[in-house]
Amino acid sequence: MDRECVSALPRVCEVLAASGGSLPDDTSLEKLLDWFTELSEAGVSLLEACPCLLGFVSAVVSNDAASEPSVLSFTLKLTGLLAASEDGFKVLQDSVLDRVFDFRHWQAAGLWEDPCIRIGWIQGLRTMLQHSQALDFFVQADFTEPLLQLQTDTSLFVASAASQTLAHVLLLCQSVPSPEGRHRETIPVETDGKYSAVVAGFCDYLKKSLVPKEASQLHGSQQVLKLLAKLLTRAGPPLRDRLLLTVSDPLEELVTTNYSQLTLPLMDVILAAHSCGGGERVARLLSVMLSARNPADLVHAAAAFLRSSHPDPDNRARSAGVLLLPLDVITGLALLGADSSADQHRSSVMEQLRRKTSCVSMICISLTNVPQVTSTAPDCLPCSPAEIVSAVLSVLRLCSGDSPSSSPGCAEVLRNVTGSGRVQKCALDALSALSSSSGVKVLLVEVFTLLIQYLNSPASDPSVIQKSYQVLVKWVDVCADLSDVTEQLREDLVQVVRKRVCDVRWEVRDSTVEFLGHLAAAPASLASDKEKARNALECLPGGRCATVPLLQEALQDPEGYVRASSVSALALTLAPSWQQGAAPPQQEAEIVTRLLEILSQDTQGFSRRAVIRFFVAWISSCSSPSSCSLLTQSIPSILSRGSADLDWEVKVHTLELAELLLDRASESRRHPYAVTPDRTSTHARAVESDPVSMLNSLVDQGVFSALLSGLVDCDRPVGLKACQLLIRLRDTVCPLLLGDQDVSDALVSGSRASCELPGCGWAREVRRILGTATAPRNVHGADGLGPEDRGEEEEEEPAVRVGVCDALRRLRLDERLAVLAQSSDHVHNSPLSLLQDILTVSRTKTHLDSQLGQEVIVDCY
């Protein structure tokens, strides 16, 4: 712990004990406690390191009437923390522990009414209960009763904390750490008299409060069920068995009372009981939950069961039946076969489906859980995944209002789902998830047809269109072989995409452009030319040639998101041609010109970021500089525009581009011990032989300038990234240069790598660090002209030339890295700062009090 903190702490304790009201803000105490927790977790013994804390606790507790409730609450929590270690516990037990946790005392003092005292008490106990002595203390003081009462506290925070603490106590009762604290031993609950009172008290409570007597108690029951579920999943056999024995009757009662709100927590409890071998009785309860409740609760229960991935074939089959029944009813497709157990609910499901709200929610639950249904073993399923896909397609058709349901008496139901965006989205999600099920590929054409119809429909909402595209990509991805999709369908898809890139709604244009990018990235083939590995885009009529102009057009879109998406989609679409070096030069030049325009003129950050990422992708896939000469030419302008951007993300991406160029350059540099990669280009050979020319080439490309400007950037992530890259450059190149030739030689040598620093902007800041601002080493710039010849502004200093290695050594990069690596608020968030704040505020208050003799009221908003 910091020495300054140690010395400040006693005074802080004094201040808190004396006048806890004058705190810098109401989170100070929480921060202080967090700091103590961190310290004790790091193995520091708090009482040894800060002996003043004990004094503080006794002072506050002995003078509780004068203390602020927030300070009292803090003291309770702190005491718990101090007593969490066995040594600390011993020290406190001898002094203040009894008094601190004596809730009757707090009640008598009238402080218990304040929820922050109650929560302090609960959390203090919770923190302390880490060892057997603490548990003994808990049992002896008989804290079970108050803790149970707090379960139904008016404050939800208190009730929740009490519930967690109770679970903690019960779990601790069954496995108390052995006195050595090394391993935990399980204590049989029944036989251990010491703790049996706690368990018995809890069991009584369960019996009383599990079944709600009236509607107002529903929330309480929900809480108890949640607690019970938690305990059942984590408790060992003796406690678990005892709990199960206790709750069997109340659970049975709950299962028969149809409280819809309790379905899910009840199901959690039953599932937890079932997983830990709850026996026949629990199994029976489970089957009641899955078969004998009202249809709306039934689908919830069935969904919960399937999500629990419980390997119980009968119940899985039953749940699948329950979830498929609404789809069966609405589509009229016989998903469930003739004699399904879910069939008994057919008429009541129909009844629910006739009502608009319950219809949509029920169908949505069914659809959302379709993936769980299909993940069930095939022999548990009443129908094949392909039939389920057909049903989902059928629901989608009903939603669009185009087809009548084949189910009798469904006219009213149909009205509820026609045009329902929620059902459409759920069905599309289900369709997406079903794409990977076995045996569904036969439906690819049907899926294609329907999705194209959805994409084409003027009634489709932008989010529905977006999902339709995603589903289409998913199916293309999974099926890969598009031979079954007719030429006509593929033509239809191209037509609809052409139309949608011109849509009035930018969201639709955006998802269309994104879709084109995803298609370009999805592997697919046609039977006719299987030997060629192609992407899905190439399988469409016109292929890439047809879509690139669409994307180029989208680069002009008035909406920034669409421009950004089209840049990304272009990168994905052009990637194959970069790898093959086969892009039409005219088109490539047009695209690069437009992208540079976006980079320098676009008002939206997204599109500029996308442009830099486009070039990063291009450079990564470019095999040799000669194959992408246009790109190589553009690099200096990309780097200079990117690093001068106002958006920090653009700048970071620009630095990533610089990093890539650094990698490329250092890969091709010869190193006696490095494994040299295969190189073919003559350019690479020229660089490898000479680190100086490599540095010069980096300078010429603008990489070095980009790194330097990033280093002094006001955005920390930019500075950090630039600093790391510069250090890497320094560590890899400079020692080599020094090893290769004499330093002084290098300095005077005309061939040394150097770079020009202009007299304005970021360069001025770099020059200040380098100390070249006032005394320029080289008055004349590269062009040999003095400042007066250039006629520049008065403030602008003449450009100077600095040696790269020299600059790298003198920039104090390591120091800078250390500063940049810390978060920007590290000073404000330090414990010392917190302690000082507390002291300052208290001093100011005392000062003002003495000066004015009256309380200063500060309005804080």
Binding site: L414, P458, K499, R505
Partner: protein, 658 residues
């Protein structure tokens, strides 16, 4: 009250309401779908159309080569197109007192009703309805007269022949009543009978009823009508819209408390959302232009075109269509664009406020200023020299049978780069395109119909709660093509009364009350007596005077001055003119109280028998019956006048006298 239905077309209604001695025609829409059976009228000679083969029946017995031509498997009448008029035999059109027009699309049959029929009444319409209606009629006349056709085909209408004709000609109804277009003179004469009204203005018809137009939100000056007397209210809802487009929003609240609501003019394409269609229109347009093709939009010269231009105004920049020319070609294009800008008071609030800025309410003014939108009266003249492709052309007529659109169909139909986008919902686009087949041009159907859909109308009816709804029969069942869509029909309680062409409906309410005025001096002479707190009653003797459907109670004239003495004797023999009225009784005799009173008077043996109308009391000792009924009491006792009088007085104790 009766409703005569002269048109079965749900959006081109023509109904006649007989209400309180007035005969009111509600709209006179002209069903122009009949023109789809005719060949297009090309503006310049079309070799293709002139070379079409004539039609001869398969067995060769009927030869109508001159009248009927075959094109792409269908048969068309080669003659001046004709329209299907509203029914004219159902009632005598000369008896119509007034015609109420709800919007400019629903008045196109006006000259057929007001001219040569003996009509002497008045037509009521708002100013924009009249002006734009005039434009549409003039345009129609111009389209027809520009391409005169000497021939008038009539042989095919022969019943015996018609039944042997193929396709839609065979099924066409009342072909003998079809008429050629009216002349400009008839238009002027018909429109001279129009009297202008403003929204919520009340117009008295013969003192019997009051009619008043309300904004219906569908088009410039479009209205619904309230027809009411003092105690009855009929609402006539024609094309109405709840969407925010250019016109003033719909006035819904004034439709409340109607006895009968006549509902017509719902959207013709209930499954198409106008916003979605507008989006579809824009994207198809942009797609075609980007690919280097032309776009043809067959449309009326007023109405949705304003919204289309406004939408495009916003869209062209974002879709990089700034350099594409837009042409609007119609004989009335200029007037239509300019009229729209001057009817500020009929526009939605947003557009009204622009007038004070001052800015033109519609952005098409800016499109014209910046030369992006150009308008021409026809393809001849200036247009042909300035025409640049690729371009977008808005022109009529949406039936594709006459007007400049015929020329563009011939010009652009052969290239698959071009697109025709249908936005008017009045014609089936496949039928409209039939005489141009085979066609390479792309066709897109984006019908934009902003009128109420079934969802909106059921909400509206829930809100205004009319007692009875009358509507075209088409609205009482789902559309034939989508019989599973039970949401595309009206479901009301009580069910709506459907009508079809030639129906005569007895509207289901009886007139119960009339308002009667009382003259002050007569009122002064009344002596009211209070029967309940706040309610007083008086008897009146007066003379009822009825004139112009107004009823007034006047004092009874004093007897004439005494005649000459000679006749005096006879006078005395006659009863006086006015008898002093007997006092009237009111109230009810309470059984218990009456029995108690009887007992007080020594009548104890009373047997009470309950009857459907009241009670019969049998006074056994006196052998007397008293029948107590709601509106009368009878005392039956034989020859015991004192007892009867006593009993009568006892009964009277419980009643009030006036």
């Amino acid at each position: 009250m009766k409703l005569y239905c002269l048109s079965g077309h749900p959006t081109l209604p023509c109904n006649v309401l007989k209400f309180k001695s007035t005969t009111i025609m509600l709209d006179c829409g002209l069903d122009t779908t009949s023109v789809l059976n005719f060949l297009p009228l090309p503006l310049v000679h079309s070799p293709r159309l002139s070379k079409l083969p004539g039609w001869v029946s398969k067995d060769g017995t009927i030869n109508l080569e001159k009248e009927l031509k075959e094109c792409a498997g269908r048969v068309f009448v080669d003659s001046q197109p004709e329209f299907c008029l509203p029914e004219r035999e159902l009632l005598d059109l000369s008896t119509i007192d007034v015609i109420l027009i709800s919007n400019y699309h629903c008045m196109m049959a006006l000259p057929y009703i007001t001219e040569h029929t003996g009509f002497t009444g008045t037509v009521y319409a708002t100013e924009p309805t009249l002006q734009i209606g005039r434009l549409l009629m003039e345009e129609l006349v111009n389209f027809m007269e520009r391409v005169p056709k000497a021939q008038s085909a009539t042989c095919w209408k022969n019943k015996e022949i018609q039944r042997l004709l193929p396709g839609s000609l065979k099924d066409a109804v009342d072909v003998w009543t079809w008429k050629r277009c009216y002349s400009l003179q008839e238009v002027n004469s018909a429109l001279s009978k129009v009297q202008l009204v403003g929204y919520s203005q009340k117009v008295e018809l013969f003192g019997a009823v009051q009619v008043s137009p309300l904004s219906s939100g569908y088009s410039l000056g479009s209205s619904n009508w309230i027809i009411q007397s003092h105690h009855e209210k009929v609402s006539y809802v024609s094309g109405s819209s709840l969407l925010t487009t250019h016109p003033q929003p719909m006035d819904q609240s004034s439709l409340k408390n109607s006895d009968v609501l006549i509902l017509t003019g719902l959207t013709q394409i209930p499954t198409a959302n106008p916003d979605g269609m507008l989006g579809e229109f824009c994207s198809n347009l942009a797609m075609t232009i980007r690919a280097g093709g032309n776009v043809l939009v067959p449309c009326y010269s007023s109405g949705v075109i304003y919204d289309l231009l406004e939408c495009l105004y916003q869209f062209i920049e974002s879709a990089n269509l700034g350099t594409t020319p837009f042409y609007f070609i119609s004989p009335v294009a200029n007037s239509s664009l300019e009229f729209s800008q001057i009817f500020a008071e009929w526009l939605c609030h947003n557009k009204q406020t622009k007038v004070y800025l001052p800015e033109p309410p519609f952005p098409h003014a800016e499109l014209i200023q910046t030369n992006k939108l150009k308008h021409y009266p026809s393809i001849h003249g200036d247009f042909s020299s300035e025409f640049r492709q690729p371009c977008v052309v808005f022109t009529g007529h949406p039936s594709l049978r006459f007007g400049d659109v015929v020329h563009f169909m011939e010009l652009w139909g052969k290239s698959s780069l071009n697109t025709i986008i249908f936005t008017e919902p009045d014609f089936s686009y496949l039928d409209a395109l039939a005489p141009y087949q085979p066609l390479s041009m792309k066709c897109v159907y984006c019908p934009i119909d902003t009128r109420l859909n079934f969802h909106q109308v059921s909400k509206l009816l829930k809100e205004v709660q009319p007692l009875h709804v009358v509507c075209p029969e088409q609205y009482t069942q789902p559309p034939v093509s989508q019989s599973h869509r039970s949401d595309l029909m009206l479901e009301l309680q009580p069910p709506p009364m459907p009508y079809r062409r030639c129906s005569v409906l007895n509207l289901p309410f009886r007139r119960r009350y009339e308002r009667v005025y009382i003259l002050p001096e007569l009122a002064n002479s009344l002596v009211p007596s209070e029967v309940k707190p706040g309610i007083s009653v008086a008897t009146v003797s007066a003379v009822l005077h009825s004139k112009d459907n107004k009823h007034t109670l006047q004092s009874v004239p004093k007897p004439p001055p005494a005649p000459s003495s000679k006749k005096r004797k006879r006078m005395i023999e006659e009863p006086p003119v006015v008898l002093a009225p007997k006092s009237l009784l009111s109230g009810a005799v309470p059984l218990e109280g009456f029995l108690a009173t009887l007992q007080k008077h020594g009548i104890t043996e009373v047997k009470v028998e309950e009857t459907p109308d009241g009670h019969i009391l049998h006074l056994q000792a006196q052998d007397t019956l008293i029948q107590l009924e709601e509106d009368g009491t009878h005392i039956l006792c034989d020859n015991n006048e004192p007892l009867r009088t006593t009993l009568r007085d006892l009964v009277l104790r419980f009643l009030q006298k006036l």
